[in-house]
């Protein structure tokens, strides 16, 4: 899971889209993520995790949309963070911004 950007109107969306949700344009190009965000929601999943540990997850609000992101540690609500693409798909909160 990553983001794509519409070449016609510039709107970003998740890459399961085949047409732009705003203008219907069909030309969507990859849009790598490395930008600040605010933590809108946070949880720590404690069951059903494949490696038997816990999984810290947040909803990170970027300037134009929200994404689910993993984190290496619990993150407080409303914290300012940096979100990047994860190598195996999805997004990761890599560092709180000071």
């Amino acid at each position: 899971m990553s983001l794509v950007r519409c070449r016609a109107c510039g709107r970003r969306s998740l890459d399961d889209a085949v047409a732009c949700p705003s203008c219907g344009g069909g030309e969507l190009e990859p849009s790598p993520v490395s930008e600040p965000a605010t933590v809108a929601a946070a949880t720590t999943l404690r069951v059903g995790v494949e490696d038997g540990t816990v999984r810290h997850l947040v909803v990170a609000r970027l300037a134009d949309l929200a994404v689910l992101a993993s984190a290496g540690e619990p993150i407080a609500l409303d914290a300012e963070v940096l979100v990047e693409d994860r190598a195996d798909g999805g997004f990761h909160v890599v560092a709180p911004r000071s």
Binding site: M1, R12, S13, P21, S22, A40, A41, A42, T43, T44, L45, R46, V47, G48, R55, L57, V58, V59, R61, D64, L65, A66, V67, L68, S70, L77, D78, D88, G89, G90
Partner: protein, 373 residues
């Protein structure tokens, strides 16, 4: 918009829980056969609608389950249609049946909802195998835990207010013979149960289950054909069915599709939220009940958790998903069963609300049904 009426005149629900040895077809047929026994004229049914979330996952019924259930119940030849809409499967099936009757295209329809989660091929959260790996992390418990974290923070609430929803619903399930859980729980037990995904503990999450339910919906002509007084049932006065829009940054503490579906149903009925005496809503997780009640409009933002604790409408009188368990495709029928019984008592207007879908940042399928006596 049709002008013909539709009446919910009877319902039947099997016990919810674990039904080893009885699969999807048997569970669904048990519910239908009970309706057939009570209404001998049901040998001429115009349509059967079946709702089931994951029949392929449990027993390989990717399609055709409705036809198989009809045959097992002695209704071979009845046009049968399967509906798969996650938790809302049988609500959506009911909406199709009621709309068919209201449109004058059928006079007697049966709806059946069924799920057999004991036989799912894979344990774990609801996730279609076709979805990529990231979806596993946005499982329903995680989605609602994220919602709960925001809900509690936005309204400066203690997690105990959500625990109290489980306490109330479990207490109401005690007297429901079809519920899976017949023991009340305390706030301390709810908060002290195993943490699933912060802040939601085990007892704030509905349990998987097996079970089925069925409903009979008819037109006035259909009621006459069956020798039933439609006034003995509940008139279907409003239906709502919406899916999520494309809000790229949903609020997590309300679902627009939920509010729109409820508004559609209430507008059709000419009712306001305050007119509702009884609601059966989607408490798959405690916070879901609070948010859905606010979206429907029976509570202000941040106050949905308290509805049903004092004065006001009765919420989930049959125990909700938290008390009954949540065999996905059967839950809607259990909700209809509950409100039909309430409407035979003192309640005047009742609503069934069920939400289902891929909880990927709030992408849900939401349905609402209003019934009035």
């Amino acid at each position: 918009m049709s002008s013909a009426g539709a009446w919910l005149v009877d319902t039947e629900v099997t016990p919810f829980g674990r039904h080893e040895g009885h699969g999807l077809v048997a569970c669904a047929a048990f519910a239908l056969v009970e309706l057939l026994r009570r209404h001998p004229g049901l040998d001429t049914v115009d349509a059967l609608w079946l709702g089931s979330a994951r029949p392929g996952e449990s027993e390989g019924w990717e399609s055709g389950l409705g036809v198989a259930v009809a045959r097992a119940a002695g209704l071979a030849g009845v046009p049968a249609t399967d509906v798969h809409a996650f938790c809302a499967s049988s609500n959506v099936a009911f909406i199709h049946a009621a709309e068919q009757v209201r449109a004058g295209q059928a006079d007697v329809c049966l709806v059946v909802g069924v799920e057999h989660m004991s036989s799912y091929a894979r344990r774990g959260p609801l996730r279609p195998p076709a979805l990529p790996g990231w979806a596993a992390e946005m499982s329903p418990p995680v989605f609602y835990a994220l919602c709960a974290s925001r809900y509690l923070a936005d309204h400066d609430l203690d997690p105990a207010v959500l625990a109290d929803i489980a306490v109330r619903n479990r207490a109401r399930a005690v007297d429901n013979p079809n519920a899976y859980f017949h023991t009340a729980v305390t706030r301390e037990q709810v908060l002290g149960s195993r943490m699933i995904s912060d802040p939601l503990t085990l007892l704030q999450c509905s349990a998987p289950g097996d079970g089925a339910g069925a409903a009979l919906v008819v037109s006035a002509a259909g009621a006459d054909r069956l020798g039933i007084d439609p006034a003995s049932g509940a008139r279907v006065v409003g239906l709502g069915h919406r899916s999520a829009g494309d809000d790229p940054s949903p609020p997590l503490t309300s679902f627009a599709e939920d509010a729109h579906a409820a508004a559609d149903a209430l507008a059709q009925a000419g009712l306001r939220p305050v007119d509702l005496d009884v609601l059966e809503v989607h408490d798959a997780f405690t916070v879901a009940q609070a948010i859905h009640l606010e979206d429907i409009g029976v509570a202000r933002r941040g106050e949905g958790w308290a509805v049903g604790s004092t004065d006001g409408p009765m919420v989930n009188p049959s125990g909700g998903l938290l008390g009954r368990s949540h065999p996905l495709g059967a839950t809607g029928m259990a909700q209809l069963h509950s409100v039909r019984r309430a409407l035979r008592g003192a309640a005047r207007h009742a609503m069934v609300q069920e939400a289902g879908g891929l909880q990927h940042l709030g992408q849900m399928l939401s349905t609402s049904i209003v019934l009035a006596s």
